[in-house]
Amino acid sequence: MDNILAILPQQLVFGLALGTVYGLIALGYTMVYGILFMINFAHGEIFMVGAYVGWWALTLLLQAQPGGLHAAWALPLMLLPAMLFTGVLGMGLERFAYRPLYLRGATRLGPLISAVGASFFLQNLVMLTQGARMKVYMTGVLFPRGWRIQVFGASISALVIVMFVVAGLMMWGLHLLVQRTTLGRSIRAVAEDREMAAIMGVNVRRVIAATFFLGSALGGAGGVLVGLYYTQIDFFMGYSAGLKAFTAAVLGGIGNIRGAMLGGLILGLVESLAVTFMNPAYKDVVAFVILILVLVFRPTGLLGETVAEQEKV
């Protein structure tokens, strides 16, 4: 027991770091859902593509500067292309796989199946072009092992702090964007009532495309961070991460941006606690059981839905 208590702070730190990243990916699900009422099943794959683009950027940087890289400028140079690429990819998916469906007012399952198709497609595209074997992130070059601080018996590496800060900054930026800017107001208006927003002069299609860009870019950033954290990526990584992030989004109340962050943190913590106190094989079971309990007793998630379906019975 003493042993467990000794590693508990450490596990909590891991849980928080992982939780912020889950939250970051969950934002993509929650924003798209809030605006289109559609589960974007390909979002996990977008996250995976982000991890690959980040890996490419790091590899190129290492070739250009074999002497050594400093995280302060290397990390933004990885995040930026990854976010741009995944953002544009998300917009492309929206344009070609989803827009024709929602414009025609298709069934709600249509876009879901189309997203599943996109997910298969992206997974296999990456597997065919990048190979089925995993790629290794040279995290050690950016964040040497020695960079860590001790807090309450937990040894926190610089990478974990950076993950926390980057994810936190992005969430804060998104929050400002949604609450303070014209685009943000249009997004909220479209989520509230698409038709009314259109009547008021909001360009609905452009707002939906922008939402896809933002959500996908955040997912791509999550991919880079997760790649750095686990140091290994493969074409199948989007599956379980996407599932977890979606769980986090629902846990917090889907369509609710703050809910996604809260859900991500809770999921990350629960997972790390489950690993500490139980058989690690059951950590996903614990995550899903908590999800089911929350939904059974509070069917709209922890923070409720802010944009969605309140007027309905």
């Binding site: 796989a97 469906l101 399952l109 249509g110 698409r194």
Partner: protein, 337 residues
């Protein structure tokens, strides 16, 4: 509404083709593929009851398939030393799988639309994780290596051994489940399901006990998966957790949606496409799932209502005249079609 006579002659034609199937197949491998089509069509019909008839989006349907398969493996293999005959084990498995449908369905009754989807998805994942981990401390499921040495089905002393024989067993079962689905659709329960799908509140106001009706949908849908599970376990002679991954749930859902939800022939067509397409693309081995994914997207973009669906019949929300999407409040959250 499609003309009934047209549908009847189509059904008879398809039945004739199904019976002659093994004669038309180029080799034993394709007879196996056809048997798998029938097996999955049975599963898809079960999911069609939950999703297509009652409008409850179930993303963890594969859980019932897995439960059915493992139950049969427990009852008819040397794993627990039980060797119940097929005709005894099958009804037991069907009843128990239906019970599992009620067990999993009960906590989800209050949930709407996509929340229901994620909870059923959670149950599917939990089932998979339990199957893969319950070999310790007591060996129940055999863990990742599954259960092997399952008895082949014996019907009145005749032991099935060839793909062709399994094929006819599966075709027979598919015929029965098709008939059951068609009869259910126009039964009292069937109308109750469709009323819930269209508007749950209105259904309740009309005196439908929505709790009972939803549980019936889950139970009957699960029992079809129980049949499929028995078939898979006895055909493969083994079961593994990896037979019941989440992607399998999605595949079965794709079968239901591709053909046209709620349309029985459409569901069979969907099962045929989802099983046969990757097989036909086998020459492009490496590219087949790439192409499969692309085809799913293209099909949805050009025929979002499914291949064999008739517009207006299932009350699809019509787009507005200017091409903008229909009002959200018109597309109720719990409604899928």
């Amino acid at each position: 509404m499609a003309p009934r006579g047209w549908q009847r002659s189509m059904a008879m034609l398809l039945g004739a083709v199904a019976l002659a199937g093994p004669l038309l197949a180029p080799n034993d491998y394709w007879i196996g593929v056809m048997a798998r089509i029938c097996l999955y069509a049975t599963l898809a019909l079960g999911l069609n009851i939950v999703v297509g008839y009652a409008g409850l989006l179930d993303l963890g349907y594969v859980a019932f398939f897995g439960i059915g398969s493992y139950l049969y493996a427990f009852l008819a293999s040397s794993h627990f030393g039980l060797h119940l005959p097929f005709v005894v084990a099958l009804p037991i498995v069907i009843v128990l799988t239906a019970c599992s449908g009620i067990l999993i369905g009960a906590p989800t009754l209050r949930l709407r639309g996509d929340y229901l989807a994620i909870v059923t998805l959670g149950f599917g994942e939990i089932t998979y994780l339990l199957l893969i981990n319950l070999d310790r401390p007591i060996n129940i499921t055999g863990g990742p290596s599954g259960i092997v040495g399952i008895d082949a089905p014996a019907l009145a002393g005749f032991v099935l051994s060839h793909n062709t024989q399994y094929y006819y067993l599966f075709v027979g079962a598919l015929g029965l489940t098709l008939l059951a689905s068609a009869r259910l659709r126009h039964s009292r329960i069937g109308w109750a399901w469709q009323a819930i799908r269209e508007d749950e509140l209105a259904a309740r106001a009309m005196g439908i006990n929505t709790t009972v009706a939803k549980l019936q949908a889950f139970a009957i849908g699960a029992s079809f998966a129980g049949i499929g599970g028995c078939f898979l376990a006895s055909w493969q002679r083994s079961v593994f957790p990896d037979n019941f991954l989440f992607t399998e749930s999605i595949n079965i859902l794709a079968m239901v949606v591709l053909g046209g939800m709620g349309n029985l022939l459409g569901v069979v067509l969907g099962a045929t496409l989802v099983v046969a397409l990757p097989e036909m693309l086998r020459d492009f081995q490496r590219y087949r799932f790439l192409v499969f994914g692309l085809m799913l997207m293209v099909l949805m973009v050009f025929r979002p209502q499914g291949l064999l669906s008739f517009r207006g019949r299932s009350g699809l929300p019509q787009p507005l005249a200017d091409g903008s999407p229909p009002n959200r409040s018109g597309a109720d959250s719990s409604r899928l079609v």
